[in-house]
Amino acid sequence: MRVLLISTNKIRVPRPALPIGMAYISAALKQAGHEVHVLDLLWQARELKAVLETLKGNDFDMVGVAIRNLDNLTFIDPIFFGPLTLKIIKCVRKYTNAKVVIGGSGFSVEPKPFFEYAQPDFGIAGEGENAIVALADYIEHGTGKLEEISGLCYIRDGKFMKNGTFGTVNVGLIEPDRSIYDKQYFVETVASTTDLTRDSQPAIETLQTKRGCKLACSYCIIKKTEGRGNRFKDPRQVATEIQQAMLDNPAVKEFEIVDATFNVPLDYATEVCEELARIKLTTPWYCQLSPTAINKEFVDLLGRAGCIRVDLGTDAFSEPGLEHLIKGFDQARIVEVDHILRASTLEHTHCVFVGAPGETPKVLRDSIEFSEKYLRPNQIYANLGIRIFGNTKLQRIAVKKGIIKPDHNMFLPTFYVEPETLACADTLNYVRDTYLKYKNWYLWWGLKGQTLVDRARETVKIVQDMHEEYEYMMQGVPRLEDWTKDPAMNEVGKWDASKIEIIQVV
């Protein structure tokens, strides 16, 4: 089967992220004997033109559209990527007979509304390596059963069906197909405006050591994209994969472990670091850590293993914020971790949300004063507000607070900013002034030129426009009911190609 994979990610900040998800899918398809072509829209100034040209020059049987993010998750500067996906799918439909499959974490977080909106033939929610291969077999040979494909979304008996996500991908058996990466990823560039600790950004590689996360942060969607439990790569495999990636691409000078939280569980992270230290890896690397599981011994080990910087998922500097975000640690712990890292060779950045639940004007001010008084990180990287996704505790908090209605469409950019704080010009001005005061504190690139009060007003309007635009695009589009297990309602068990109903895009 000839397959085209399209990476739709357009986020370049803090640095262009390697499409590792698509690379895993490519590897799985190639391993199953399929011919894989890729188109990475990050490097295309005119995305649809690039799609059109690729489609016209080839004849594909299946087109996979990889969605890394639904939007850029940034209240202060929101960008919604849904319309681009929709156009790509319409374009594929017009110019080919290929089956369209969408997947990736951006799809997995809100599969049903995304499916309804973009109208692909299939969607794959969660891990896609096994699912895409099974689906390709089904499409090509009619073998297998659709209902047995993990996370598969499709139209069944005229209704929306989403299979359960089985979490059966064996992370020990998979490696991303790094040959698909565009060479432009591996050019040393000027450091991003969000990176206040260095002037240049060397070429990096990325890898995952595990899938899933056992933390329970109230806003997090990783259970939808990777599953809740952990599945690990053997630490020796991790080390070998890094060594091989460095060997294959001499342009790479650093690498990043892109696990959402590398140090949870700590014993596994320790094993990985010990292995990296054992092989005397000379390539510097970085990772994201949760303050829950950091001690001096581990930080020393990180240093010995070659780690040079860590981003801390601190998330809030206030006690109410930490509590509502279900971080599992308190201010005292943040101070302790900050001290440990300050005394080490590692650079560290506290990543936080400003305006988290419970961060009323007084609480927020106190939390900023707390960070000024007790913390000395290399950088503070802050975001005003938090993207709310469906089926999260944050969504329930937002409903309770009256920020959104229970039936609010979480597919569209929607943010939590503590209402009292968002309405308080003095507090927003204080936040702006403070973040401008410190050269290593980052909130938004445009902060110098505009007040947060004005910017917030504008972004509320921008988000409102996105919702209006969605309603415009959905005019005449059928809303999908969920498939039910009631046998009287649906015919179950007979699966062949004719059972696949494809919504025609007008």
Partner: protein, 287 residues
């Protein structure tokens, strides 16, 4: 005011010298056909009645209002359409090349007397002194004529008044076909609006050339690319006619255009106070 999608008709008429009644008859036929096809805006070329009969303008120019606009008003009223027509206008012994906008109630909404006239023309017709934009229930309509396209400031004037559709009635000599199309594309991008370029065809035996035809409808490619999933380079020319007499209809979505212009507007970046200051001074110095 919310407008939505309107159907606009472009009538590329062969404008024959000294054949006013025949020109009017054929124009009427096309207008009525457009009405039957659901048009809400119907556009005729510059000097559609008389062709570019500049040498005899004193004899052929008509008054506005007058018999011709009365008849056009009747048809517009019957069909419930807006109608744009180019006419050589006579007003107390002074002649202009004018575009007139007639409303669905048959009345004249307004007229535009071409501001830019080339040197030879100015021996026969006067220049207008104002650019016009008219608010209607099908959008904000601005009027220009073919030669105006050579002067970016013409469209800029209308752009600053947030024009939705520029109807440019034209009679442009054939040799300018290529550059006119280039200019139209640039003007559409600058003005973030639809441009209906409605050209006459036929020969001008006095001057020894043919008119270019090539009537077209243009829009800002950034807008179209935003709207469409299959936009290709060149699609900004939404319609392009050859050099035959014909009429065509096209859908124009005014609301979507306005939404685009609102989000991508450059109007706030325009600095009129800095424009043409030194040029004016130089011209005065030269004279």
């Amino acid at each position: 005011m919310s407008v939505g999608t309107i159907k606009a008709a472009v009538i590329q008429l062969e404008c024959k010298l000294s054949r006013e009644s025949g020109n009017m008859r054929r124009a009427e036929r096309y207008i009525k056909k457009a009405i039957n096809d659901g048009a809400k805006l119907v556009c005729l070329p510059e000097a559609f009645l008389t062709s570019g009969n500049i040498l005899e303008v004193a004899d052929v120019a008509v008054t506005i209002p007058g018999d011709c606009t009365d008849r056009l008003g009747e048809i517009a009223k019957e069909g419930g359409i807006y109608l744009v027509a180019g006419l050589l206008e006579a007003d107390n012994g002074i002649r202009y090349s004018t575009s007139v906008l007639i409303s669905p109630d048959g009345s004249i909404v307004g007229k535009y007397r071409r501001v830019h006239c080339f040197e030879m023309e100015r021996q026969y017709i006067h220049q207008g002194d104002d650019f016009c934009v008219f608010d209607t229930d099908i959008g904000r309509i601005g009027l220009l004529q073919g030669y105006d396209m050579n002067f970016p400031i013409s469209c800029m004037e209308l752009y600053l008044r947030e024009v939705d559709i520029i109807v440019c009635s034209a009679l442009v000599p054939e040799e300018f076909y290529y550059v006119t199309n280039q200019l139209l594309q640039a003007r559409a991008i600058e003005s973030q609006c639809y441009i209906i370029f409605v050209s006459g065809i036929g020969a001008n035996p006095y001057a020894g050339f043919r008119y270019m035809g090539g009537s077209s409808v243009m829009a800002d490619p950034m807008f179209l690319e935003n709207e469409r999933f299959d936009f290709e380079d060149g699609d900004e020319t939404m319609m392009l006619m050859a050099m035959e007499e014909e009429y065509r209809l096209i859908d124009l979505d005014i609301n979507r255009l306005r939404k685009y212009r609102e989000s991508k507007s450059r109007i706030g970046d325009v600095v009129p106070t800095s424009y043409l200051k030194n040029i004016n001074t130089n011209l005065q110095l030269e004279t």
